[in-house]
Symmetry: C2
Amino acid sequence: MRAYQELSKAELLSLKEELEKAYEEEKGKGLKLDMSRGKPSVAQLDMVMDIFNVLNSDSDMTSTEGVDVRNYGVLDGLIEAKHMMADIMGISADHVIIYGNASLNIMYDAVSSAMTHGVMGCTPWCKLDQVKFLCPVPGYDRHFSITQHFGIEMIPVPMTPQGPDMDMVEQLVAEDESIKGIWCVPKYSNPQGYTYSDETVRRFANLKPAAKDFRIFWDNAYAVHHLYDEEEHQDKVLEILSECEKAGNPDMVYEFASTSKVSFSGAGVAAIASSKGNLDCIRKTLTIQTIGYDKINQLRHVRYFKNFDGIKAHMRKHAALMRPKFEAVLNSLQRELAGTGIGEWTNPNGGYFISFESMEGCAKAIVAKCKEAGVTLTGAGATYPYGRDPRDSNIRIAPTYPTPEELAQATDLFVLCVKLVSVEKLLAQMG
Amino acid sequence: MRAYQELSKAELLSLKEELEKAYEEEKGKGLKLDMSRGKPSVAQLDMVMDIFNVLNSDSDMTSTEGVDVRNYGVLDGLIEAKHMMADIMGISADHVIIYGNASLNIMYDAVSSAMTHGVMGCTPWCKLDQVKFLCPVPGYDRHFSITQHFGIEMIPVPMTPQGPDMDMVEQLVAEDESIKGIWCVPKYSNPQGYTYSDETVRRFANLKPAAKDFRIFWDNAYAVHHLYDEEEHQDKVLEILSECEKAGNPDMVYEFASTSKVSFSGAGVAAIASSKGNLDCIRKTLTIQTIGYDKINQLRHVRYFKNFDGIKAHMRKHAALMRPKFEAVLNSLQRELAGTGIGEWTNPNGGYFISFESMEGCAKAIVAKCKEAGVTLTGAGATYPYGRDPRDSNIRIAPTYPTPEELAQATDLFVLCVKLVSVEKLLAQMG
């Protein structure tokens, strides 16, 4: 296929006419699809329905440690739930505290508590003139929303297929004491599906931050969310807690994980993992904040999945559903856009997203055009702090929720919008 | 029975010897009872086990508004869950936001968010030199722990059988802009079981606080927790939201409620109720804080209890279990201590506690003596801010968890310890 940039004005005009006609046809179809968030599909959720049979009116409601899970008690989670979440993160259970139904809330609480009470004895962030976070971009909009909510200044750091630009990270944290954290999705990153290389993880573990209370917010959201069963197509990420320990930085990481995209979104089990020092500090706050989280749901999850093999087997079933969806999108992008010079995209082995880079200055227009024809994508800019994508080029594609048929329609429309907006852009540049 | 204060030294000495012998016998029994918290009994929890049968692998997981409760979406709760919690509080569902598994966490979040972001546009409390809360005493230790955690200065306000001393409340909030809140348990108060009179509620609604961001933290924890079925033995509390509206103070109250002591402690459904102004402000934070709370558990509760009649019928079964326990304690106190001048106690129509007042300076010693013989009570002082009971006289009795047999043993021991410590005190006063 010829690059659009090489087309003459006449060719572009004729192409534009053709694309506009096709777009009007698409609009006529009355599509109504929401691809704005990384949502599990109905078929994925249906797969977990047996979880409601593991507890019934005759069930023994006692945990392995003899706790009646229906009553008060146990602040930081059932030991069997800690093991479950520890296995997902590849660590030992004593590094884990179980929280409520979603990890986003843990991250929010971690930042909130750092604001009001500080981190492990350091000055509360709300008492400081300036607090900054590093934000690998493009990244996860809900991370950025938390730091923005607390008035924390966000500094974008470019992502590479190996992870954030570590030269920049190392330099910034070493020289600026007001940098207190960095948002990371180390495995199958949101939105690119990149996985941090071993070198990146080791460089993280060996950071020499000026701030004693600098913390890596390690959102391991897609730890077991592979798209392929073959080991060679499954990304692996070095275990960060032990790397930090080895590097003499045991307290530098908060790791987060949940079963939101394993069991149910919003009704799963979430956890934080960290050093004893951090966990003790967190537990002190938890004693005030809660009488403990939902132990019944913890027990339900453990009895359903049984062990890590159970989770892995379950995730292979998810993969079987999701693989064709990702492939449908990727095939269509490849077929329609390869060589056109108007778009690039990632090709992830797992996670929930594909990241698309349009020509500069086209993302907002593409998303708007899709919306006009009935397909809602994540808002352009959302993958950047403050919603500001300086190149206006990144679009997050979330292929998980629609059915394969819907996805084919949606991708056809997307590709069409990319072409149309790009042609318009090129024509505008010609003047 | 003669008042102990009228006994001669010789009589007291002989009584002391007798009581000490009895105490040694009690110690020999090897009791091991924890009455420190207001915990539902195993029998109460067993009554709810059918809740695990309402959802199974074939269940329709769609809410009345057509939401798949297993997926993301619905920030502030299912409408049917709002109705359930609204009925418990005697208000309309549009005043309600559903949260997670316990109301304590909502109160914590409300204070935390006021610290970092302020209340409805007012200055964040963390930016103020001083923030104070009024604390009716004796009161609930976990309330006081939250305000203490955030460095909020706590001012004790004496409780009366009609509620807090409203002369004092009115005067303090009117003259001191740094007073930002008051902790209230309006119905079957913790620990006395008092219910605020209509006049008290109206005086609350008509407060003229100097601080625009003054909020009444109205913890309606025992809204449906009667001990008696007869209407005339059920306390009623005026509905505060509408009283505040009538008084032109619509935004002055945060009300909290949960099913922690209806269904399961730590696995129930919790809610906040307030004005549209407050709820809009809370929702803005919630959008950042969470992807939404556990809608499956909300659905499970609604389908199990069906409606408010279902909840009331369920609570009558609780009452049937709890009444004999409260009566066992009260009868024993009456039989052993009436007329002795060494103790007074409340006689509640509901809630989870009985409040006991020993002679001044005896509470700590009584609790210690009970503990030494195997019965753990709530720590003396816990019912006061900073754990400081200035008279060292208040003890919270939590009769709900033990079996009736255990309770009889525990109360025998308690009464014995009250007598023994009082005799020792009187002898010490004689010199």
